[in-house]
C-alpha cells in the first residue's frame, strides 16, 4: 500500500519535472509571429514578449478563406520556412501552447510568382530604362536596331537579380520593423494605466461625496 503511494508520488514528480522542462519557454503572456517573403519561400519568425524564441510552436498556414495549406513546427531558433503553395493571401497562425496564439498575414501582392512576372516587366517603366542603356552600350554599331528584341530575357534576369538583392538588403529592415512593432509595454503605458485606475478611484470618491452633500443639504 505504502509503496504504491510512493510510486504515485514519484510518477507525479516526474511528470512535473518533465513538463517543467517542456514548458520552459512556454511561459510568457504574449507571443508574436512575423513573416516575410524571399523569392518563392516564406520565412516565419516567432517569439514571446521579452524576446524568447518559440521553440516547437505549431504553425498553421491557411489561405484567406481559412483552408489549411501547410502545418509545421518552429525550430530551435523559433523559425519556420515554407515554399509558397500558391498565389493567395496567406494567413500564418502560431499556436505556442497554454492559450498563446498569434497571427500574421502575407498579402498575395508580396509574392511575385514567376508566371505573373513574365507578363509584367514590359509595363514597368523603371525596369525598362536600365536594360536599354546596357543594350545601347553593347550594340554600338546598330543604333537604329530595335532595342526591345534582345531586351526580353535580360529584363527578366535583371529583375530577378534586383529582387533577390532587395530581399536580402531589406531583410534586416523588415526584421527591425517587426521588432519595433512588438516592443514591450513602455513607461507611458504603465503610467497611463495607473492613471486610469486613479481616475476610477477619483470617480468613485466623487460619487460618494456628492451623495453625502445631497444628504447634508436635505437634512
Amino acid at each position: 500500500m505504502k509503496s504504491k503511494l510512493k510510486e504515485t508520488v514519484r510518477t507525479v514528480f516526474w511528470i512535473f519535472a518533465y513538463t517543467l522542462l517542456l514548458a520552459g519557454n512556454a511561459h510568457a503572456h504574449r507571443v508574436s509571429v512575423f513573416a516575410w517573403v524571399q523569392g518563392d519561400t516564406v520565412h516565419v519568425e516567432s517569439k514571446f514578449s521579452g524576446g524568447k524564441k518559440v521553440k516547437g510552436g505549431r504553425i498553421v498556414v491557411t489561405d484567406s478563406s481559412g483552408v489549411e495549406l501547410i502545418t509545421g513546427k518552429t525550430d530551435n531558433s523559433g523559425e519556420f520556412s515554407f515554399k509558397i503553395p500558391r498565389q493567395t493571401d496567406l494567413k500564418i497562425i502560431l499556436e505556442a501552447g497554454m492559450g498563446h496564439r498569434a497571427e500574421w498575414t502575407v498579402p498575395a501582392d508580396d509574392m511575385e510568382s514567376m508566371a505573373v512576372e513574365d507578363q509584367t516587366p514590359p509595363t514597368k517603366p523603371t525596369a525598362e530604362r536600365e536594360p536599354e542603356i546596357t543594350e545601347a552600350v553593347q550594340n554600338e554599331q546598330n543604333v537604329s536596331m530595335p532595342d526591345q528584341v534582345p531586351a526580353g530575357p535580360d529584363l527578366a534576369e535583371i529583375e530577378a537579380v534586383v529582387e533577390k538583392v532587395l530581399d536580402k538588403k531589406l531583410k534586416p529592415v523588415l526584421k527591425m520593423l517587426a521588432e519595433f512593432g512588438e516592443n514591450g509595454p513602455t513607461i507611458r503605458d504603465i503610467i497611463g494605466g495607473i492613471g486610469y485606475i486613479i481616475g476610477l478611484v477619483g470617480l468613485a470618491a466623487y460619487l460618494r461625496y456628492r451623495k453625502r452633500d445631497v444628504v447634508n443639504t436635505t437634512n
Binding site: 503572456h29 524568447k52 497554454m98 492559450g99 495607473i194 485606475i197 478611484v201
Partner: protein, 204 residues
C-alpha cells in the same frame, strides 16, 4: 495566465463573461466607499505586477498577485482584477478583449475562494497568519493555473496533460507569490492592520 484571442471557443468565452459579470456585480455591491482607495491601490499593483519578470531557470515568469488582492478585498477582487486586465489588454496587448471574461474569471475566482478559506487565519498568531498568507498566495496561482487548463480543455487535448503543463510552468510563481503575500500580510499586520479584512474591533 493571459489567454490570447482566438484560442477559445465561443461557449467558453461566453460562460467566462457571464461568470465574470456575476462576480463583478457581487464585488461592486460588496465594495463600500471606505475601501475604494484600497481597491484602487491593489488594482494598480495587480496591473503592474505582470510586468515584473523574475528569471527562473530557463524561462522567466511574472507575478500575478491575485492571492493578495483576494485576501484583502474578497469579492471585490472581481471588479479590481477586471479593471486591471482591461488596461493590460488595451495597453500591453496581454490577453485580449474577447477573452477578458475568461481571464478575469481565471484570476479572480481563486482569489475569492482563497479569501473565504484563509482570511479567518489572518488575525491569528503571526506564524499561523504567515502560513495562511503563504498558502493563499500559492494556492490562488495554482487554482488559476487549473482554471487555465480547464478553459483550454475544450480546444486542446486532455485536461490532465494541459493542466499539468500550466501548473508546472507556474510552480515558481506559486512559491514567489506565496512569499510575497506572506510578507505583505505580516507587514500590514504590523503597520496598517485596518487594511486587513474582517478586522472587527474588540472582537478578536
Amino acid at each position: 495566465m493571459h489567454i490570447s484571442e482566438g484560442v477559445l471557443s465561443a461557449p467558453v468565452l461566453i460562460s467566462g463573461m457571464a461568470l465574470t459579470a456575476a462576480g463583478t456585480a457581487i464585488g461592486l455591491k460588496k465594495l463600500d466607499y471606505e475601501h475604494i482607495a484600497k481597491a484602487g491601490m491593489l488594482s494598480a499593483a495587480f496591473f503592474v505586477a505582470s510586468l515584473i519578470h523574475i528569471p527562473v531557470g530557463p524561462s522567466n515568469v511574472h507575478l500575478v498577485l491575485n492571492g493578495i488582492v483576494g485576501l484583502l478585498l474578497g469579492w471585490s477582487a472581481f471588479p479590481v482584477i477586471l479593471v486591471a486586465l482591461i488596461l493590460q489588454a488595451v495597453l500591453f496587448q496581454f490577453g485580449g478583449i474577447t477573452t477578458l471574461g475568461v481571464n478575469t474569471m481565471i484570476m479572480a475566482l481563486p482569489a475569492v475562494l482563497c479569501y473565504a478559506v484563509f482570511s479567518p487565519f489572518i488575525h491569528k498568531r503571526n506564524t499561523v497568519a504567515l502560513a495562511a498568507a503563504f498558502a493563499c498566495g500559492a494556492l490562488s496561482v495554482f487554482l488559476g493555473a487549473l482554471l487555465v487548463g480547464l478553459a483550454l480543455v475544450f480546444t486542446e487535448k486532455n485536461f490532465l496533460e494541459v493542466s499539468a503543463i500550466v501548473v508546472a510552468a507556474h510552480l515558481p510563481v506559486m512559491i514567489i507569490e506565496g512569499i510575497v503575500t506572506a510578507l505583505c500580510i505580516i507587514f500590514l499586520k504590523k503597520v496598517q492592520p485596518e487594511m486587513l479584512p474582517g478586522k472587527v474591533e474588540g472582537n478578536q
